[in-house]
């Protein structure tokens, strides 16, 4: 029995709240957490939190008819309510940290929307100058720093090395140039068509309805810092999460962040469920995850291979670095969103002669058409943790999906944080 501690659950993942509470042998805090008909969240915390150590469990996942942003606002409101209710300390427990992985570039590196300024006419139409803000006839341009030197023209020249002229500009959808007269250019349609995945930004045609002004490389919001700041501003004194996509996110916070690892669970699964795992190959499906995968490979003394994405101007192809012929392959990554990366990697591995393919990921979000993609893929066994609710996914994928339970890790982390014990043992237990 742990005393003076309150575990409060959001609506995103009731199963893990229940499981953590039963491990800590305490009831979950009574609360009302619904919506008013206007759409505003309604939160009432019915048990006293005065002087208590409050842990609020809410994962960054919207599904089953609920919305991610609703869950996040609920979390902030709960934190704030506990703070104004004189809680001694409020800890936000986010098994999956929302907004931790967003693309920072709207296009592939090679497909960046550089505009063509090689011809004379191009020079007339486009300028690197961001001023005037509202392009119009008769609006004067801002002066350069040095009189008589038109710095914009020089920029235009130096930025176009040989051959770059072949890089075509991003076409205006309606074939009009923007700077013409300010008329006839439809403003962006704010209501957007269809659903997007984090991969779609790589594909110019998906963002066809929207074009940045010529000469401006569009600015994509990075919400990670914002989310961190919002949690702190709501009153979170401590954050516990797991397998952050970027460990740097910890640095966005001014409060302590405990980034737990799902790695020990994955390791244990490999040891207990994969026969002759010593002869298998650990694969990282992209260069970014190499560190994660090598950590497991090194610790277990298993060979390692890497899939490298080659992106030339038109298409992306994948290349395997290492040998997988007649071997069992274990793909390791942190997050399965649309399943695009992992299924393509599996396809390549099969082509390279892999006998069996396991895919082990900490967070299984399964958004978009991920379920169908996985079903059709060459992956023989997919293993995820229950950092987000997996019941529905398990029902759809059946025996292809194994779910590992992370609630003991979070229960133990909460217990240790509450008692002021070190939690570093959770980082490398086996």
């Amino acid at each position: 029995m742990v005393r003076n501690i309150v575990v409060l659950g959001g609506n995103s993942h009731p199963a893990i709240v229940e499981s953590v509470c039963s491990m800590l042998a305490l009831p979950a805090c009574n609360r009302i957490l619904t919506k008013f008909s206007s759409g505003e969240s309604r939160c009432e915390i019915q048990d006293s939190v005065r002087g208590k150590d409050v842990y609020i469990i809410q994962t960054g996942f919207g599904g089953n008819g609920s919305k991610l942003n609703d869950h996040f606002m609920d979390l902030c409101i709960m934190i704030s309510a506990c703070k104004t209710g004189s809680a001694r300390r409020v800890t936000a427990v986010l098994p999956l940290f929302p907004y931790s992985r967003q693309p920072d570039l709207p296009y592939k590196k090679s497909g960046a929307p550089l505009f063509k300024a090689g011809s004379e006419s191009g020079k007339k139409d486009y300028t690197f100058d961001s001023v005037p803000a509202t392009p119009a006839p008769g609006v004067p341009r801002s002066a350069g720093f040095v009189h008589g030197t038109d710095i914009t023209n020089r920029l235009t020249k130096t930025s176009l090395p040989n051959g770059a002229g072949s890089m075509s500009p991003v076409k205006q959808t309606n074939g009009e140039t923007y700077f013409g007269n300010g008329q006839g250019v439809a403003s962006p349609v704010p209501g957007v068509i269809g659903s997007y995945t984090t991969h779609d930004y790589e594909n110019v045609s998906h963002v066809g309805a929207f074009q940045a002004k010529p000469g401006y490389k569009q600015w994509v919001a990075q919400a990670g810092t914002l989310v961190a700041n919002l949690l702190t501003c709501a009153g979170a004194d401590h954050v516990i999460t797991m397998d952050l996509h970027d460990p740097q996110v910890q640095g966005f916070f001014d409060v302590p962040v405990d980034n737990l690892y799902g790695r020990p669970l994955l390791k244990r699964y490999i040891q207990s469920h994969i026969p002759n795992y010593k002869d298998a190959v650990i694969i990282s499906p992209d260069a970014g995850g190499a560190k994660r995968a090598t950590a497991i490979a090194d610790a277990m003394g298993i060979e390692f291979a890497l899939i490298h994405k080659i992106t030339d101007r038109q298409n992306a192809s994948m290349m395997l670095v290492g040998n997988v012929a007649d071997r069992v392959c274990i793909l390791i990554d942190d997050l399965l969103d649309t399943g695009n990366t992992i299924t393509r990697a599996a396809k390549l591995l099969k082509k390279e002669g892999a006998t069996k393919i396991y895919a082990l990921l900490t967070h299984g979000v399964f958004s978009g058409d991920a379920i169908n993609r996985i079903k059709a893929s060459a992956i023989d066994k997919l293993v995820v943790t229950n950092s987000v609710p997996q019941n529905e996914h398990k029902a759809l994928l059946g025996p292809k999906l194994d779910v590992l339970d992370i609630s003991p890790i979070f229960a133990e982390a909460i217990r240790r944080v509450h008692h002021g014990e070190s939690i570093s043992v959770l980082f490398n237990y086996d």
């Binding site: 206007s38 902030c76 104004t84 957007v192 919400a223 969103d337 958004s367």
Partner: protein, 333 residues
Amino acid sequence: MSAEMANEIKLISGRSHPELSENIAKRYDQIPLGRPPLGIEVARTISLNYSNQETSFTVGESVRDEDVFIVQSTSTGDVNEGLMELLIMISACRTASARRITAVIPNFPYARQDKKDKSRAPISARLVANMLQTAGANHIVTVDLHASQIQGFFSVPVDNLYAEPSFLRYIRENFTAEDCVIVSPDAGGAKRATSIADHLNTAFALIHKERPRPNVVGRMVLVGNVEDKVAILVDDMADTCGTLVKAAAVLKENGAKSVLALVTHGILSGSAIETLNGSVLSALVVTNTVPLGDKVQRCPKLRVIDISPTIAEAIRRTHNGESVSYLFTHAPV
């Protein structure tokens, strides 16, 4: 000249209420500015939700050193989506080096959760205020805050515009003041209603109500005389419309010739439209601070006053460093 040109208005629209943003931009075209009457356009941006439901926002033109105004209302049922989108937009403009970011939030979300009225109740309005500032808003423009004290939750300037001048004009254009009596549907709105009654020099009445639970209306008592008059109910928001419709019935019982309601924010959630259609109210007049969607088609009693001239003028004055207080008593045409 060049220094002036470097700081332009950038009007950015969220997904919740693009029509309002368009109206503001269009309205802006008509204001003579002493320069080519190009006015402004809504900036090129795109907001979308990924399949994992995370909101993404992209700016398609430079906002560096510009005066950014972000228009985002809260559409009924999707308050949290709109709020997160607004916060992400503000944060994106902040990191893209905007000089000043003004959040134009015609209908301030969570305005009713502004006090700790029971144990451990969240003061969500203050949370929203803190979040907006954390995201990087330097200035807030809003219309008819539920409680003007919410301004005190901010440490940045808040311009709380009023729909009252627009309502006064509507009443003057459609009724003779002597025939009317202004009615407040609850004690909390008495100040708002008396202000209108004073400006029109008409009578005033008040309905006292008991409210056992939120969104549930109790017994109502009329204080004042409405016999053979046009009773005009005045309030700041119409949500489920339970209060308004009950108040209208009470007024009818007390001999009012007809009853209409003037409400700033037409949230109209739940079964509000059906409630209205079946009520004795002859008309519900709202401003377009909240996107109404197809509600105007579904409810023949609903009339809409365009608030965008007031907001556009507030934006112009804020940008040019002029006083905004003129707008508290006058509605631009």
